[in-house]
């Protein structure tokens, strides 16, 4: 994760990405034949790019990751910018190199890259910007969407659905996509307008944005563990004449949701030891079956 890495680790990762990009390089020139800046792109062009960015992972593969979809995102704008066919071909070659960005905040980078293409920057400069931003954008995207916004929306939607309300799926879709499409289009325009100045802003803010998102995410996950992990025991303790239910009489007095918390932390510990989610799912099923068979769960 980019936002937990040290600076040295970030640099090493960026170096590795540059190697991956260069390994798939087919372009020979480093500058465009026609170096006069192209006409500025219109709002419609930027919106079109943002819509096409939805297909970023259409031709996903392990050799170049999202390269095919990334080029697909840029094609209409590149055709408008590069009137010289050889320039267009060279530009497309460069954009078909290895790239792995986050599918949610990718438009920030594509907007920025289009601003550079329009200025006819050198190919190596554009490549360097792509490589430099993959890591920070990945970190922010993970922190904002996978760790924070999706659990919040899904938690609210699932709660409503479990009550049998059709508002569950509707609220989920509206909430999630309000931020999703707001950012997708907003970042596309911001990246294009701000140009290279946005890079230092992004880099200095990466940690702070990720940190803020992590605060919200972690709080919500604590809440979700207490709300939705279900585990209790029907065991009873015999103390002379009295029979005390272990769950209501003892565990709940200690702290409600003690068993769900303990189980979640146990899963967390095993995962840190390198157990895969698939193994842990199998383990959970075994625990459930054994627990019912012996009557302890």
């Amino acid at each position: 994760m980019a936002f937990n890495d040290s600076d040295a680790a970030l640099v090493a990762k960026a170096d590795q990405r540059m190697e991956q990009a260069l390994a798939t390089r087919t372009v020979e020139r480093d500058d465009y034949l026609d170096t006069t800046p192209a006409e500025p792109l219109s709002n419609r062009d930027i919106n079109r790019m943002a819509v096409r960015s939805l297909a970023l992972q259409a031709s996903f593969n392990y050799e170049r990751m999202q390269a095919g979809g990334w080029l697909y995102t840029l094609i209409p704008a590149l055709r408008k910018i590069h009137k010289n066919p050889e320039d267009l071909s060279n530009s497309m070659k460069m954009h078909l190199e290895f790239i792995n960005v986050h599918p949610f905040d990718v438009t920030f980078l594509s907007g920025l890259v289009l601003a550079m293409e329009q200025n006819k920057e050198k190919l190596s400069t554009i490549r360097a910007v792509k490589v430099a931003l993959m890591g920070p954008l990945g970190g922010i995207g993970d922190a904002m969407f996978w760790l924070t916004w999706l659990p919040i929306c899904a938690g609210i939607g699932a709660a409503l659905a479990l009550e049998g309300s059709l508002f569950g799926p509707i609220v989920f879709l509206l909430l999630f996509n309000a931020l999703h499409f707001g950012l997708r289009f907003g970042l596309a325009h911001y990246g294009y307008r701000a140009g290279l100045g946005a890079i230092s802003a992004l880099k200095s803010s990466t940690k702070k944005i990720s940190h803020a998102a992590s605060i919200v995410g972690m709080t919500v996950i604590g809440a979700l563990v207490a709300s939705y992990v279900r585990l209790s025991t029907p065991l009873e303790i015999h103390a002379g004449q009295a029979r005390i239910a272990l769950q209501e009489g003892v565990l709940d007095k200690l702290m409600p949701n003690l068993l769900p918390l303990a189980f979640t932390l146990a899963m967390y510990g095993l995962m840190k030891k390198g157990y895969s989610p698939v193994k842990l799912i199998a383990l959970t099923v075994l625990i459930g079956l054994a627990g019912k068979f012996f009557g302890v769960l």
Partner: protein, 257 residues
């Protein structure tokens, strides 16, 4: 049954594309559940199964590009089987998970065999053939659609009766055991998120969220907004407390974000 299975397969195909392209997230179980329910004439059960499966998959997201058990097939098959066999929503998890793990494996293979297409694209852009690159991307989405269509259709069309018989024949403690395991399953997704995010800086917030539900019984949205307030205090105060040289140099660019 054929029409139902075809409609569900169509839904699975579209949702499978949305998982990678589109990302509107109508492929999540909380949405797919009621949609499958609509096709099979039982929206209410669809909502319940969808909500249950949503919790199981909440943390299972493609973090840093790693593929988790497939959420689309899990949601579609789990809901369809729960409705067709009238099983408990939590038992549906036991049916859904093996399929979703197998599909996860297939997707990995799919992404591997698609690599050579990139060399075709290299040839195309050399000749300036941008339309060819577009077709390759449409092909990629088409393959995904067909794959999900088939994977969803076959077990629902051919397996529903067998699964129904199996659920009827299974001893009660097995069904109850699966149900208990289903209740515990969301912990795995949350643990996955915690593994990525939790370090000593964030333990305090985890405790805060846990206490807010366990003792204060607050709804999730209230807790999320409270956490947002804390994050904003942290964000803006952090700005002020930054070391002087860095603060002055970055002052004008930081306003941008």
């Amino acid at each position: 049954m054929l029409v139902d299975a075809l409609l569900i397969a169509l839904l699975a195909g579209l949702a499978g594309v949305d998982l990678f392209d589109g990302l509107t997230h109508f492929h999540r179980p909380v949405v797919l559940g009621p949609l499958v329910g609509l096709i099979l004439g039982d929206v209410q059960t669809g909502l319940l199964v969808g909500g249950t499966l949503e919790l199981v998959w909440m943390g299972m997201v493609p973090l840093a590009g790693a593929q988790p058990p497939n959420v689309v097939i899990g949601g579609v098959i789990g809901t369809a089987f729960a409705i067709l066999t009238k099983a408990d929503p939590k038992v549906a998890i036991g049916v859904a998970v093996p399929f979703s793990i197998a599909v996860q494996g297939c997707i990995t293979v799919l992404f591997t065999v698609f690599s050579p297409m990139m060399h075709k694209c290299d040839e195309m852009v050399k000749r300036g053939n941008w339309r060819g690159v577009e077709y390759v991307n449409y092909l990629g989405m088409g393959i995904l659609f067909c794959f999900y269509f088939i994977v969803a259709f076959l077990p629902i069309y051919f397996g529903a009766d067998a699964a129904g018989a199996m659920v009827k024949a299974a001893p009660q403690w097995v069904l109850d055991g699966l149900s208990v395991a289903g209740g515990m399953m969301p912990a795995i997704g949350f643990a996955l998120l915690m593994k990525i995010m939790l370090n000593k800086n964030y333990v305090a917030y985890f405790i805060l969220g846990f206490v807010a539900v366990t003792y204060l019984k607050l709804p999730i949205l209230a807790i999320a907004l409270g956490a947002l307030a804390i994050a904003m205090i942290d964000f803006f105060n952090g700005n002020r407390a930054q070391p002087q040289p860095a603060a002055t140099r970055d002052a004008e660019v930081q306003d941008g974000i």
